[in-house]
């Protein structure tokens, strides 16, 4: 079994603020992440895929196909954007936990268009928000 991991990066801004909480509660829970004009990160997104090797090509996944999917669904719409304005973050706060869930959703919805066979499968998504803050989510 092989796991292939590809690393991508996109810059975006966000502000952690929940309309369900008071100003004071937002400030207390999110601290400087709640500052009114938001702030940004260079998000590093590692996408892991698993599957058997195709003995003809020697590969478990076509990296160009994965790159195309990620470019179209993740990097282009989210790169150089304000995450709080994205439709996905109108009901939930754009924490990196929720960003991971949203990235997983976008990949899952479009996966079979790019990879129609049984393999490869999406395995996990790991987001390095800053070198000290890292979030990981399994695909299933």
């Amino acid at each position: 079994m092989f796991r292939v991991t590809r690393r991508y990066e996109f810059p975006a801004s966000h502000r952690l603020h929940s309309p369900k909480l008071s100003e004071n509660e937002n400030q207390r829970i999110y601290g400087k992440c709640n500052n009114p004009y938001g702030h940004g990160h260079n998000y590093v997104v590692e996408i892991s895929v698993r599957g058997p090797i195709d003995e003809a090509t020697g590969r478990a996944v076509d990296p160009a196909a994965l790159d195309g999917l990620v470019e179209r669904e993740i990097l282009k719409p989210l790169g150089h954007s304000d995450l709080n304005r994205d439709a996905a973050f109108q009901q939930v706060v754009p924490t990196t936990e929720n960003l991971a869930v949203e990235i997983r959703r976008r990949l899952a919805v479009n996966w079979s268009k790019i990879f129609p066979g049984a393999w490869p499968k999406l395995e996990k998504i790991r987001i390095v928000e800053t070198p000290r803050n890292i979030f990981e989510i399994e695909a299933t």
Binding site: M1, F2, R3, V4, T5, R6, R7, Y8, R50, G51, P52, I53, A56, T57, G58, R59, A60, D62, P63, A64, A118, W119, K121
Partner: protein, 139 residues
């Protein structure tokens, strides 16, 4: 418990299926169909239980020497397709390199207390492969 040792080697390769034309190879492998090279980084992880006396699963110094002998010596500063079998007949993708390294190491690192758990091969910092041996892929 997992223990991991990391080594690096630099090598060139070309991803090419001999039965295919240049254009077909380019459509399968993209730029990797051109001869080029990488600074490969390899992380080898063993699973095991520490020896109650030494406190070690396998002496990492010994693992380092095994990796030098079995991987770095044959791979480093070589053109894999021309100089390092089986890549005269197997396409030297990161997947096949990980599997070949697994096969070169398996008998040397498996013992009473340890067994090979994973071989990770970084082709670049943006692309790496983990190989866990010949286990079937479960759904």
């Amino acid at each position: 418990m997992l223990i991991t040792r990391k080594v690096e080697f630099s090598a060139s390769h070309v991803c090419r299926i001999p039965q295919l034309s240049d254009d077909e190879n380019r459509s399968v492998y993209g730029l990797a169909a051109n001869p080029h090279g990488h600074n490969y980084v390899v992380e080898v992880s063993l699973e095991g239980t520490p020896d109650p006396v030494t406190g070690m699963v396998l002496d990492l110094k010994e693992l380092k020497e095994i990796l030098e002998r079995q991987v770095v010596a044959p791979y480093d500063h070589r053109f894999l397709n021309y100089e390092v079998p089986p890549f005269d007949r197997v396409v030297p993708t990161a997947e096949n390199i990980a599997r070949d390294i697994w096969q070169r190491l398996e008998n040397h690192v498996s013992g009473e207390r340890s067994r090979l758990h994973a071989v990770r091969v970084y082709e670049t910092p943006d692309l790496f492969v983990d190989y866990f041996g010949e286990q079937p892929c479960s759904a």
